[in-house]
Symmetry: C2
């Protein structure tokens, strides 16, 4: 629980009562590698805070290829927040890439926190904004660089991820085939 509290308090102040109220709503769950936290076509019913493990968001392009949109690791919220907030169907899958442990909030509890804890909406908005900006900053350089540069900046940005996730996911994140990525790895060493 400490991880969650520390994370939240980076974005705003809350008193002990408020913190207890929030953490009282959280449930610890575990998901096995490959399991989906939320799925495209379904309305996300939970927000999760990652304690252990890695998730990826992925979708399918018009050729039917599976594209990894981004990765999330420890101390991040995992959800399509826009869709969760609006009770709308998600367009992407959130899949556990490793065995994972997380704290989850149901939509009902989350709304109750929003209606109870003054300032919670602002904290959530800040967190969400930060996540969006990070996504842009991580994805944008991928457009204008060659594949080797993209891979190098990937392992720079996610040094603790590269050994935990399949090469094929990294390749689809970088927009190349896994064969190309394998070749790039070989050339680097």
């Amino acid at each position: 629980m400490k991880e969650l509290v520390d994370y939240i308090l980076q974005f705003g102040d809350l008193n002990k009562h408020q913190i207890d109220f929030i953490t009282g709503k959280a449930t610890m769950i575990e998901l096995q590698k490959g399991a989906y936290f939320s799925e495209a076509g379904k309305i996300p019913t939970q927000v999760g805070f990652i304690l252990e493990g890695v998730f990826r968001f992925c979708y399918y392009n018009n050729k039917g290829e599976e594209i990894t949109h981004f990765f999330l690791d420890e101390n991040n919220f995992v959800t399509d927040y826009q869709k969760f907030e609006a009770n709308a169907v998600a367009s992407e899958y959130a899949q556990a890439v490793t065995d994972t442990k997380l704290l989850v909030f149901s939509k009902k509890d989350w709304d109750e926190i929003l209606n109870t804890v003054i300032g919670w909406d602002k904290i959530v908005a800040k967190i969400y904004k930060k996540c969006l900006i990070e996504t842009i900053e991580r994805r944008s350089p991928l457009v204008s660089e060659d594949a080797t540069t993209r891979y190098l900046s990937f392992i720079e940005k996610f040094p603790n991820l590269v050994n935990r996730i399949p090469l094929s996911y990294v390749a689809s994140y970088l927009g190349i085939t896994q064969q190309s990525l394998s070749r790039i790895r070989k050339n680097i060493r």
Copy 2:
């Protein structure tokens, strides 16, 4: 002014007094093609609402190449809002790609609106969030598609932009050279 008011009211309700207060702070300015609205290394001092014309945000990568990050056209706010909000130096240039006409708010006036008009902060947050999400949705497909597909989806998403902006900007937006884009255009017709 009507364009600005219509745009704002999409995101929340305001009464006539509030609207007058906000529009009273706006100044109309014109920028010539090529002029910068804000520059990397400088603290953005204004927010602008585009009435006419197109802007692009661009930066330089580590090879010194100029990369067009995204385009903005009519009825959008032009600013690095995160940096504007925080009085921090911008990391990108906001450049007029055509002659442009816009309504601008100074930082001082903008803060005054925030402190005066109840609900303005929420409207701004919504607008900003929408812009961030749009940026992600437009940029993400650029990573995993080939150059022709990227160009086709660009002209689909920005049908009214393609004839107004130089090919070289589009090329750097798509992450290819202008020669490649020229060749792609030729193959398409």
